[in-house]
Symmetry: C2
Subunit: 255 residues, 2 copies
């Protein structure tokens, strides 16, 4: 007889037992991911301002996903050596422009989330990512103003409303009047990478010091999910701001 | 005076030189990503059927992104040892349910793309990912039928039309009448992870043998991008099927 599965296990936060497959390791919040040689990938405090600069430089070295990831994990590698320095950073270039120019998840959001996933596990990881993504949706950026920009150009700010590259980049291109293949677009995304890396480290530092408070998802998403969330009618799996794609359904039709 | 940047460089396929930042390493198609100890992460042929099974089991061990990634890289680790076996696989759990339950990029698509990004670079990597994502959008799944399913349940097939988890899962939940937090949904995604892992390996094998042909993105996307693509008017950065979010704009209004 199969053992009953709890809600936490269904969400993947606990050991999963089922049928002929033995459960995976319990991945609680206290367990830092251990490398094969037992060195852990635990987080150590980083300077947000330094990370911001590295995020910007990292973008120009290998674009958004690579740049943001390396600004955190590579920085830990520079300070602490193995295992951080041994990570195959080139891998993260797959995430460029919403993965292979598909415009899906913003590379800066994919790279930072992956870094968080390397350093933390379980609900702590997910709460930090949620805070990061919620911040990204509503924040007007780029914020970072490099002292010596690679491309010194007019840089309007836009709020993406979405963690999807297609939307984030598209909205800025519309506002700025630039094309995708341009130095201006590169410069914008480099500065956004800086902003994202800095924010991720601020959240990680807060978590390290026990002062982390999870950021709230958009009020629209909260409102919609009150009825349409994963344990409700229509059970939509999403924390994204619903207006971006479902704006035509708002205001909500009366029942 | 700043050196002119080519289109290839702007897309990130070549060395980028700009201002005070030295360019990154040229990452051509022939260069396998080298680990710190010089062992490369080159691809070796894998059996699609074995990978399919491992993708399914990997899902139950650590969900979609982890499961698909480990089915490929972990399998290489089992066969060839380092550096594959040393990868911190637990990191990939960040990608669960479109990353931390945000419903963005499908974890199976994020995990497989990351695996491809570890094994290949540049345009080869992106063409394989494009083929994989184009396949995912249009294919009715799950296809895999495990000999001993963890959850033996009714399993309708749906085509997601999108690589976004919210849409992919949502469409199946609607068709199947299940809720997100259910064994049926877990089983569906486990089988989709199997399908995705198998497809990724089929593409990687074809590339290894010189028989790879890039799959076409959706006809809708191709059609829209003919005018709205990244070098055109409105320069939209996307390869996703536009209908999913912009269906209200089709058929295209006359000019």
């Amino acid at each position: 007889m199969k053992k009953e599965i709890t809600r936490r296990q269904l969400l993947g936060y606990g050991a999963v037992m089922g049928g002929t497959l033995a459960g995976g390791a319990m991945l609680g919040n206290d367990m830092a991911i251990a490398g094969k040689d037992k060195k852990t990938w635990a987080y150590h405090e980083l300077d947000p301002a330094e990370t911001e600069k590295l995020g910007y430089e990292g973008f120009y070295e290998g674009r958004c996903c690579f740049g943001t990831f390396k600004s955190i994990i590579g920085q830990l590698g520079d300070k602490y050596g193995a295992p951080y320095e041994d990570f195959p950073f080139e891998m993260m270039k797959y995430g460029t422009a919403g993965v292979a120019f598909w415009g899906t998840l913003c590379g800066a959001m994919n790279g930072t989330a992956a870094a968080v996933g390397l350093l933390l596990s379980g609900e702590d990881r997910d709460k930090i990512i949620t805070s990061l993504y919620a911040w990204y949706e509503k924040t007007e950026f780029p914020i970072y103003s490099p002292p010596k920009p690679v491309h010194d150009c007019n840089m309007p700010k836009t709020s993406a409303g979405s963690v999807l590259c297609h939307r984030s980049v598209g909205k800025w291109l519309q506002a700025s009047g630039n094309t995708f293949i341009s130095k201006e677009k590169l410069e914008r995304c480099a500065r956004v990478a800086a902003d994202a890396a800095k924010k991720a480290v601020e959240l990680l530092n807060a978590h390290l010091h026990g002062t982390f408070k999870e950021g709230a998802i958009s009020t629209t998403a909260s409102s919609c999910l009150a009825c349409h969330g994963i344990e409700k009618e229509a059970n939509a799996l999403s924390k994204m701001d619903c207006r971006i794609c479902h704006g035509d359904k708002l205001p909500h039709p009366k029942r």
